[in-house]
């Protein structure tokens, strides 16, 4: 299997799905890059280079650059999806949902229900997420909890190139609006990724590491932070089971509950801020459905209740890291009831 970066895996998937289904179109700012300019009309592939080459292959009727008008083009995607296309929208930073929130969380999410099932809204919204490259308070948020809040949306947070390809394939073929969140710090991660296309189903968690002492549910890049912590913990004789839910909505509650039934202990690692987030969501689910299994408090490792600072040293402090995860795991393992 060829090695591919996260970025390449996404690019590959878009190519394959566009070849497979003419209804798939791409919409976003600078997803070609060069539109209306004198030079190269395939200059950028988005600010992060993910869609490079696609306009050359599929042309401007299927790769649509846009004015900086998220509300209009996201709304247009909803309309196109209701009228037979399958748009994949590049929102760039997930934070920019703030200028098209109505289109995403009210229209895309609720149309199918509100109209009594008459129309489906098969669209995928790709957006980068997370901190770590000094993009400050308004371009570094992890908004999967906000998306997961809204019924009607599906929310995908891949943790590796392999997952990215399989989950994006599923997303594009899915008949519902899917939010596909690409963690900034993962774009250059490399992994073996099959050339042929494959789907990874939504709502099925991946157990990355088995272990009997504690269950760690981690989302996005936090899976790697947890994995790093677990290696150190293993040397101390603590065996972690690491669960990557892959999709936060739908959520594979079963796999989490089964693991907690074995381990009796749960730590949740989530890069987002602490209030009403995905960590609280998983914790509350277990405190309701798996209470009897619990031998210790459920601990959450998240960012603090602060906006994201620009200064790199503060940003590092802001994000959960292996040390914080280790500390939490040791607390629950060492807990005396």
């Amino acid at each position: 299997m060829p090695l591919k970066t996260f970025r390449q895996a996404i690019n590959d998937t878009l190519v394959q799905e566009m070849q497979r289904d003419v209804r798939v179109i791409l919409i976003g700012e600078d997803i070609a890059g060069g539109t209306g300019c004198e030079g190269d009309g395939d200059a950028w592939g988005g600010p992060l280079g993910v869609t490079k080459g696609l306009i050359s292959e599929f042309g401007p009727d299927r790769v649509l650059d846009t004015p900086i008008s998220e509300a209009a083009f996201m709304g247009a995607a909803v309309g196109a999806a209701m009228n037979g296309l399958r748009p994949v929208v590049d929102l760039m930073f997930n934070d920019f949902v703030s200028v098209c929130f109505d289109q995403v969380c009210n229209q895309a999410a609720k149309c199918h229900y509100m109209y009594g099932g008459q129309n489906s809204v098969p669209m995928t919204i790709r957006a980068n997420t997370g901190a770590g490259i000094s993009t400050a308070a308004q371009h570094s948020q992890s908004l999967h909890p906000v998306f997961s809040f809204f019924p009607g949306l599906k929310v995908v947070v891949p943790t590796s190139p392999y997952e990215a390809k399989g989950l994006l394939t599923t997303a594009i073929r899915d008949d519902d609006p899917v939010i596909f969140l690409e963690t900034k710090l993962l774009y250059d991660m490399e992994e073996d990724v099959p050339d042929e296309s494959y789907e990874i189903p939504f709502g099925e968690a991946n157990i990355l590491r088995e272990g009997g002492d504690v269950t760690i549910v981690a989302v996005g890049r936090m899976v790697h932070v947890a994995t790093e912590a677990s290696a150190a913990l293993a040397r101390k004789g603590i065996e972690c089971e690491i669960i990557d839910p892959r999709t936060t909505s739908p959520l594979d509650t079963e796999t989490i509950l089964e693991s907690v039934e074995e381990t009796g202990r749960l730590v949740i690692v989530d890069e987002t801020t602490p209030r009403c987030n995905f960590a609280t969501d998983v914790s509350a689910m277990v405190a309701q459905e798996g209470f009897a299994f619990l031998k210790a408090p459920i601990r959450m490792v998240t960012a603090p209740h602060t906006p994201i600072p620009f200064a790199p040293n503060l940003e590092q402090l802001y994000m959960p890291d292996p040390a914080k995860v280790s500390a939490a795991v040791q607390q629950v393992v060492g807990y005396q009831g």
Binding site: T66, A76, M82, G84, D102, N106, Q107, Y113, D175
Partner: protein, 321 residues
């Protein structure tokens, strides 16, 4: 205009009028859930525009949408059932008055923030353009909603993407209880078209013929050239913003004036008779048929079954969750 088209237009305007006048009475006596925004007085707007649409064109309505839906050919009975939250309603009772939607006749219901149909229309038109199916998309937008950013963005986008969209602004004098001229800098919406590089036209909305002629030209151009345009229709509503509105913000005698001088049904009738296009008898037949229809469906709706409880959980997702 062909006679059959005139008859259809009259039937639609009359149906809307009677549907809404009866709704006004029903609301006052209770039993209509939620907010209801009546279209009385504006019938010629939607009906005039729809007289120029083909079967695969899409109309996008607003919260004041009963008339929009009926003009596009939505079944009055299932519309009424929806407004009453009944199982047989167009959307199974999930939408209600403000969001009624009927994909079978290509009518898209109002969606959330006012004005959002302008952007959705761009996507509908984009899909039509992609498939080269020659269809246009027509979003109706209240003049108040015209000040939503998404509407202005959509106008620019439609121009940049060269989409067959005709933005129809229904300037009915008020946005809730705020005067249009005050809230729209300069007071005119058709004039904004130039800012986004498209033609803009304003006509009196109580005149079916003025509306349909202006619509014909702009829709035709949109269809042939795949370019957007703006049509502003000026005609005040006869009732309040929603039912229950005391309307003290109106000038004295305004509604009386509207009813006597700017009633699109009277104006239409006078014209078609004077021009010998239709006869009084032809119109009377329609009046009677509509009267019967409205009476029947309003009677039926009150006994109609409510949605099954399990419907609460249906249609959240279209594919497995």
């Amino acid at each position: 205009m062909e006679k059959s088209k005139l008859l259809t237009a009259y039937r639609k305007m009359r149906t809307i009028r009677d549907f809404e006048e009866r709704m006004h009475v029903e609301f006052a006596t209770g039993g209509v859930p939620g907010f209801v925004h009546l279209y009385v007085g504006q019938e010629a707007c939607a009906v005039g525009v729809c007289s120029q649409l083909e079967g695969n064109d899409t109309l996008l309505g607003t919260h004041r949408g009963h008339g929009h839906a009926l003009a596009k050919g939505v079944d009055a009975r299932r519309l009424l059932f929806e407004i009453f939250g009944r199982a047989e309603g167009l959307c199974g009772g999930n939408a209600g008055s403000c969001h009624v939607h009927d994909s079978s006749v290509r009518y898209i219901g109002a969606n959330s923030g006012v004005g959002s149909g302008a952007a959705i229309a761009c996507g509908v038109a984009l899909a039509a353009k992609t498939r080269s199916d020659g269809a246009v998309a027509v979003p109706l937008i209240g003049e108040g909603a015209a000040n939503q950013g998404v509407v202005l963005e959509a106008m620019n986008l439609a121009s940049v993407w060269k989409l067959p969209v005709v933005f129809v602004f229904e300037n009915n004098g008020y946005a809730e209880a705020t005067g249009s001229d005050w809230a729209i800098a300069g007071g005119e919406l058709w004039g904004r078209a130039a800012a986004f590089d498209m033609p803009g036209v304003a006509v009196e909305g109580h005149d079916f013929f003025a509306v349909s002629e202006a619509a014909a030209e702009l829709i035709d151009r949109a269809r042939k050239e795949s370019r957007p345009a703006v049509l502003e229709l000026r005609q005040k509503r006869f009732y309040g913003h929603f039912e229950g509105d005391a309307q003290t913000y109106r000038g004295d005698g305004e509604v009386d004036y509207l009813r006597s001088e700017r009633d699109c049904l009277t104006i239409f009738t006078d014209r078609v008779i004077a021009e010998d296009w239709l006869t009084k008898e032809e119109l009377a037949v329609i009046d009677e048929e509509v009267t019967t229809l409205i009476a029947d469906i309003y009677e039926e709706v009150k006994e109609a079954a409510l949605p099954a409880e399990s419907r609460l959980f249906d249609n959240v997702y279209a594919s497995p969750y």
